[in-house]
Amino acid sequence: MKRLLLTVLLLALLLAPLAVSFAQDRNVFVYGHPVAFPNLDPSSGNSNENVVMGNVYETLTFYNAPGSAEILSPKLAVSWEASEDSLTWTFNLREGVTFHDGAAFNAEAVKKALDRTISIGEGSAWIFGMIESIEAVDELVVQFNLSYPAPLDLVLSAGYAAWIMSPNAADQDNAWFNDGNAAGTGPYMIASNEPGQRMILEANPDYWGGWSEGQFDTIVFDIVEDSTVLEQMIRSGDADFTYSLPFDNYGPLAEAPGLSVVVTPSFQNLLILLNTVKEPTSSKLVRQALSYSFPYDDVVSSLYAGLGTQGRGPIPANMWGHGAELLQYSHDLDKARALLAEAGYPDGGFSLVYTHVASDLDEQQVGELWRASLAEIGVDLEIRGLAWQAQWDLAINDPGSAQEAFGFYWWPDYITPNSWLTGMFVSEDEPFFNLSYYSNPEFDDLVAAAASTSGIDRAAAEGIYLQAQELLLDDAAAIYVVDLPDIHVIRDDVSGYVNNPGYPHVVFFYDLTR
């Protein structure tokens, strides 16, 4: 019996190292992706599935990576113009484009696709709130009538909700898309989908842009939630691209052979929203004290391994509307103490609740570092990790009993500074994402004025945005923790990669070669 056990054990051990080898004659690019694709419907998906959408579907206009000469470039639309009042927009469409299912791309298709998205009204569809009607003026000319002035060309470049799907697909329901079906105009088509595990894209041979040597035939998304596994995959060459590893691990990775770590500023930042309604953070002085109590340098240099930058107001540095001269709080406990004393809390003596997403180690450690610093001025911080929904529910139900400090990431649905200011700080009747419950009519007016000017006169709008931010910073409605970088690890034998923060973590595989 013992001998039998031994034999079985030995056999198992002998078999174990026999890796299976497979023939490989295709040019395959593997994206080790840290999260599943929750909703593959191009109309309502507004999450990480954008990395698929960006290669299967296309938008009318394309937002260029920061640093480009133009903000937008043509995609499915070759040219466009707006009326004087910004209320009527006409787009001339690209000729000779067909959808994956063979349907012709034309003005009717654009209308049908966007009408579908607007009528479903889920996800990021609200960005089309200004659209009153869409008309197919000609086979390749589509006209949008707006109810209020807005930079529609920018809106139509959004990485969510602005995708154009085939008219046949537009007749389908959400389930059809989530079964792995798709019909866009993009360079790749969904070949297979095992939800939560793997998705495979194949090149669209009829892509209007044409194909050349060295481009990838096959794209594999390996869904791997575990960053440990992702890191091992990219190290061993099992993946060509990944992101979302711990900040501390990028240093060693950059030195690993065959890898390059691409760090670019993103449009995402981390803030701590301070409750402006509840004692003691309802006091502006207390909020200013808290802003001075935050250990910005430790957080940026240690937690983010020096890869991010301290925020200066809500708008990140690579976005127009960012003010390089705006007030930036620093870690200054003496000032914090003085302000607390002025507010009537000479030795601190109160405690605050900071909530963050339970699974987010960065946000948690932000809290831990802040807590240690707050302890020195006599303020106690309770760190509470919650599921995002629970954290949010706590905030919106009753501001008077909500958390005092809310760890909050923001990124724009389409790329405009207005997103940060309106999204988080303009007064709301019922709290929604203004989770500081910040309410300043003067600020509201400024933001509204800037928004309506931005389509016509960007420089003027920028001036107004800066004014608004000055108010916001003086009121210390939030702690601007860090402007986050996009950090992507890619095998260095792949060329053509440029990160475009306008489409977070989307790799436009068509641009790549090996």
Binding site: A16, P17, V20, Q197
Partner: protein, 340 residues
Amino acid sequence: MALLSFLLRRLGLSIFVFIGVLILTFIVSRVIPSNPAALYAGARPRPEQVAEIEKKLGLDKPLSEQFRVYVDDLLNGDLGESYHSRRSINTDLSIFLPATLELVIAAVLIALVFGIPIGVLAGAYPRSVFDYATRFVAIAGVSVPSFWLALIAQSIFFSQLGWLPLGSRISRDATLFYPIAAQTGFYLIDAAISGNWKAWLDAARHLILPALVLSAYPLGITIRMTQASMLEVLAEPYVAAARAAGLPRRVILFKLALKNAVMPALTVVGLSFAYSITGAFLVETIFSWPGVGKYVTEAVLNVDFPVIIAVSLVVTLFYILVNLLVDVVQALLDPRVRLV
């Protein structure tokens, strides 16, 4: 006839238990201080979207009405829709459940195949070095945190030795070049049916590590239970009688005593199954095993309660079925049960 009535009674009890589980999970899911409609609406919903979805999902109706609707759907075999992904939970489970079952069954088989003989020998040679070593192994098995063992195993067999893959069910190349035609969802079975041996071997290599890690707890239980019941059985007069009749030790241990000892040890199968599923919740995440455990752990992080309820129900159903099966096997093995 008696067997039948015994089974009917067990079945009746199981149905009762299942209904209880349903009510309990439903209650737990409705006391959460979270707004499911907001979750359903997506990453950053608008208020009007949330209100509309609340209506669509029937969350504005009284609890009893919601429960009625849920049970109605359930009776039609519909487990509902994930608030987070909006995918049909039936579809999701049809993918994830076979993955978990394959893993759990492999783990339980490992536990039984190794645990029973080891337990028998340990019971047969009490106070031997083997007995002490076995006691240590068994206790270690039930004491080791599975998620930690998984990390250690990855570090040894992947990082140090490079023998086994780090995680997932199958390598990417196998899916690309030797795709397994899905029939049962059990990769080993599907690959074997279609004679796709390269993919089979690949799937087997992926299965070894998580299955071994997962088998630690059931292995420990199996050894302990078998050893204990073996000790008891060996003290029975019929074993003395068999020795007095001069039967060889091998026959006494592995034929006569084992059959008796296996009866109580069989209850272990149900228990093992339960613990393996539990272990799978933690281990699947570490091995990127796309199973129910990983599915439900993510659902927990997202407070996605339709998924949590559905998984509770389905897993409990399997648990109940396994225990029922164990009862039947015991009844079939034991001639005495027929008269009860």
